[in-house]
Symmetry: C2
């Protein structure tokens, strides 16, 4: 493959697009979970777009069409939630292989509609085409208000780093599916975490109210990778406390079967769709939100350097996110 890494490619694309004139309403373009723009004085619109491609992002032998639709929409809703927004409208463009039948396509939509739930987004447009591989490209429009969107770049040294829920299950679930296929029934909770992740949209309003997050992102590439994105955007570093990172039930046991440290999964597992944010609120114990979801302090924002403290050691860590072109 002659393509450079995904990050290098995005850098080149950003450079090209930076030469375009920018409408006055645009506040943030490429580089955050969503683009942010003013739709009217003091009103903010958000748009995010993601593409999921068969055999790159998902496999039809691991996941049902309904699960695939559900997960694709969940990722987009999560991007809006990560800026403190409400997702309102979704635009779904599909590439559909001839080997699918109409029931499969309807199941895809049922999954997307299930992920949206009663509070949206509403599917309000899109496009369909035939295709060799199944392709799901979704754009979601959302709004914040009256608060401004929470960007990635607001973290300050001293802020507490907070995480909703737990991480690590999605990567473990993928391994289980890849190694043994689903029908073995092993570690169903971890498998389910991979095939049916849920977004934290309903937690976002309470997080805004209780924690006044200075910076926020969702865990889509992996905890370390996304924390780096946030800290690089903010011009800060971090000190992550490995012991404090919450793990899903079963991950300890699965990691021990695999002869690995469960922290490896927690640090690198993508598509978790947990919210990761920084706050000036001082708290050292996990807090339960009204939705029942826990918020756990997992470290501190620092002036520079990416450090992990774990088992009595504190060391600089190398961060490698998932690269779609490797």
């Amino acid at each position: 493959m002659t393509l450079p890494s995904e990050w290098e490619l995005i850098r080149r694309i950003k450079t090209l697009c930076s030469e375009q004139p920018s409408p006055g309403a645009l506040i943030t373009g490429i580089g955050d979970d969503c683009a942010v723009f003013e739709t009217a004085p003091g009103r903010y619109g958000l748009i995010t777009a993601d593409i999921s491609i068969e055999n790159v992002h998902f496999r039809l032998d691991y996941c049902s069409p309904e699960e695939i639709g559900h997960k694709a929409m969940t990722g987009n809703i999560s991007d809006i939630a990560a800026m403190g927004g409400k997702p309102l409208l979704a635009f779904v463009s599909l590439g559909i292989p001839g080997r699918l039948d109409p029931g499969d396509v309807e199941a895809l939509y049922r999954g997307m509609i299930k992920a949206a739930g009663p509070t949206g987004p509403k599917i309000a447009g899109g496009d369909t085409s035939s295709s060799e591989s199944l392709i799901i490209s979704i754009a979601v429009y959302g709004e914040t208000g009256p608060e401004k969107p929470v960007m990635r770049n607001g973290a300050c040294a001293g802020d507490t780093i907070c995480l909703t829920g737990n991480v690590g299950g999605s990567l473990a679930g993928l391994e289980i599916l890849a190694g043994k296929r689903r029908h073995n029934g092993a570690f169903p909770d971890l498998v389910s975490r991979h095939v049916s992740p849920r977004h934290r949209r309903d937690c976002a309003p309470e997080i805004l109210g209780r924690f006044s997050p200075a910076a926020m992102i969702d865990v889509s590439d992996g905890l370390l990778s996304d924390l780096r994105h946030l800290c690089e955007a903010s011009g800060t570093g971090f000190l992550l406390n490995g012991e404090n990172i919450p793990l899903p039930a079963g991950l300890d046991r699965y990691a021990s079967v695999m002869g690995r440290d469960p922290l490896d999964y927690a640090l690198h597992s993508g598509e978790e769709f947990e919210l990761l944010f920084t706050s000036k609120a001082a708290f050292t114990e996990p807090v339960k939100l009204e939705t029942g979801v826990m918020v756990t302090p997992v470290g501190f924002v620092t002036q520079g350097g990416f450090m992990l403290s774990y088992r009595g050691e504190k060391k600089e860590i190398e961060i490698v996110g998932y690269d779609h072109f490797k």
Copy 2:
């Protein structure tokens, strides 16, 4: 292929999505060129989304990456123009095959940026992934104002049907490319019409001011097919005057070489991106806009039936749009 026709599939998708609750701000969802929603009282947002897939919508042996990017963005800008809107922001999700090199990807973006021109839309986000086929999925956000967007459903019996520019060249150009490949150099204007179509975004403001269009659509499926969409949405019919439909230079000669009537091309050629609208303004001769583009009266809205008058005959016509699943 077990899939039903594209229209049947869209009907099923609409039915599923109609069960989702609709946010109060949404005015029009699936079924027009764009979704329309209120971003603030009296302010209207528009979003359109389209997907272009290698070997379905374009071929890399007919078109350069720059032309492919240009055309994909042109189609989206055209959808915003067809509602009288200004395109502001674009979100580009790409599936990129390993056989492309970074220069090809940059050329795709250069094409998109060229189609946007100095007035936008600005590329403000998106996603990239590896893929077997080249995939370009674009969503564009635009606004109208202070006027309301022009929908498809406002046509009334007696309105004049108006068309910008001319139609037929894109289909002829595609035939030339498919039959003989480009390097033969035959009919370069028709070929160029297929590989480098332009949108009519700059004509839209003057059309709004001079013609107060009651209904508008862009010619993306084909003149007959899109006129049917407009008239079905409006609950009307049409009488199209075949002799009045403007043809591009060279189409007469090309059609005669092929032993076909040039009107066949004019009626069925898609991806023309001309604006088709209805107006109460009474005029029988073509009008030149300030942009230099002609607006030609090509027929009348009627109470029902799809009629074509041509060479002294008036007959009901059967309309078949391009179906991506056939």
